[in-house]
Symmetry: C2
Subunit: 320 residues, 2 copies
DNA sequence: CTGAAAGCGCTTACAG
DNA sequence: CTGAAAGCGCTTACAG
């Protein structure tokens, strides 16, 4: 009977149909726990990111969902909110449930052992959006240094000279890479980097909105802001508008990620497409490949970002 | 040993600590599948909504997460995208995994049997945000007719006479209730309801943004829009601004839900707080109570909404 | 080809 | 109080 229900070729079609019909009639429910106990495959994949409600991760999750659906895997989502303890608990839960694999965007400060402990207990891991040095697993993310340089160079080419970087943290590889990309672009253009021209921290709209007054009060009167991501950029533009200045005219602003929202912001946001869909799709595929026993290379793959120019950037205007 | 690991009082403290220490040393992993097979409790709760990436549901999910964490339940999230088949598959998966319960915001057109099938197979259900007539389970949502009347009456009291309702669908109880609340308020004020003054459909920013031109082209030149939710309202305001008009001045706009974003929109959005946190918290608690064997009443509970007045509404201005 | 039996890792009722 | 045994519902290797 169990063979028939799983469409085994060992069972004749007519027999199979009859059995399935009967199973439905008596309200039979397949017990995956029991099957999993026997086969040590559960059909469950864990996915953990900083915050699933953040649209950047949401876009990655959507493409992961599509791929895993195709592979008939159930997925369990969780936020770690950059709390290492929460992340460890989640991996523990996956191990206890006998999950088949995990896709994670590791919490800030994740030691490689926290990832390898999963691997060593038969839970293959794939990283997205962030990578961890010393963790010998496949990882997919955008080329941040290159991407932020695209945005910075775009502003420089428009004639901006006093460009501030807003948001992000030095505690992730992404944070360091983006800041470095900005620094490199500025130095390559022979532009000065004054202290106070980096306002680290903001990563969401609210924080971008709140930092606007601090940005506008800088004594150098910068004419442009390279933002950590689209959320910060949109929040900042709202804050600039609230202060009576026109984003895209008085102040140029760039975002990062190219969320769906970037195109309908006011003004439409110039930003860097970060390949979320691509990252999610490839991570899910490589995990499915691993589950099917394929040998995959455990290296970091960088997706090449693209600049999308819209209305939030223009020639510099001096404020008086 | 199993007693010791579960902190049973039957085992002396010293013994327990020694066993736990040893378990850690040898890398013991508790097998929840096996335990669940034996006890028929899995510690898993399913949560399914239209779209977890929608901030409205995201806010509900966050409070559900907090409560379930406290009850030491793992939760599995899923989107149904208003696809009944997807929703059925998810409930099937939960049954197969032996989940302990499910919290759902049912897909459009969910027949009560689709919910009762879970109940009858030992998977207690609780509804959030939407209710289903004939499904004998607890449900929590806002009082939509009352809430939308708050917004409509606010506009009327400012002097608006030509007020359009934008977004939503008649296919959910929520959709019907909100439209009815708008109609009731208009009629109570003796205001005319012209055809074309309802633009159904939009439920997200993109759609709100795109419908702006259609709204602005209405021959009656309405002075205000009551929007289905905050996302539509923010999209609409962006569309209005793109067309060169000033939302909050030339056109008054109200939202619904009071997302975190509403307060930092430009202009800050006048909207109706819909009790997302409250809905999620109470739904999770009642489910945990059911899991602990408590008898709970299976009735619909309406959370009373509140109007939050900000800058997107003002006295009417005639357009020429 | 078919059917009965073993075993996955727990928990719990029961015998000693 | 302690320890061995039964059984949850599957899958699969094996005997017939």
């Amino acid at each position: 009977m169990s063979l028939a229900l799983r469409d085994s070729p060992l069972v004749a079609e007519a027999t199979r149909d009859r059995i399935k019909e009967h199973a439905r009639a008596i309200g039979y429910i397949y017990n995956r726990r029991a099957a999993s106990l026997r086969t040590s495959r559960s059909g469950i994949v864990g996915v953990v990111v900083h915050d699933i409600m953040n649209p950047f991760y949401a876009e990655i999750l959507r493409s992961i969902e599509m791929e895993l659906d195709r592979g008939r895997q159930t997925f369990i989502l969780s936020n770690h909110y950059d709390d290492l303890e929460k992340q460890r608990n989640f991996i523990d839960t996956l191990l206890q449930l006998g999950a088949d694999g995990v896709i994670m965007s590791p919490a800030i400060g994740t030691p490689p052992e926290d990832i390898m402990v999963a691997e060593h207990n038969g839970l293959p891991a794939v990283l997205v959006a962030r990578s961890v040095d010393g963790a010998d697993v496949p990882a997919f993310r955008g080329d941040d240094a290159y991407g932020i340089a695209l945005a910075t160079n775009h502003l420089i080419s428009l004639g901006h000279r006093r460009i501030v970087m807003i948001g992000g943290t030095d505690q992730t590889s992404t944070g360091r890479d983006r800041y470095q990309g900005y620094v490199n672009a500025m130095e390559a253009a022979g532009l000065e980097l004054r202290s106070g021209w980096r306002l680290p921290g903001p990563r969401n709209k609210q924080a971008g909105f709140e930092i606007a007054s601090q940005f506008l009060a800088l004594k150098d009167k910068p004419t442009a802001a390279v933002c950590w991501n689209d959320l910060v950029a949109i929040g900042l533009m709202n804050g600039i508008a609230r202060a009576g200045l026109r984003p895209g005219v008085d102040i140029s602003v760039t975002g990062y990620d190219d969320l769906e929202e970037a195109a309908i912001a006011t003004p439409a946001l110039t930003t860097v497409w970060n390949g979320q869909r691509e990252v999610g799709r490839r991570a899910a595929r490589v995990l499915l490949d691993r589950l099917n026993g394929a040998a995959v290379k455990t290296t970091l793959e960088l997706i090449r970002p693209e600049l999308h120019i819209r209305q939030s950037t223009g020639r510099p205007v001096e404020r008086t």
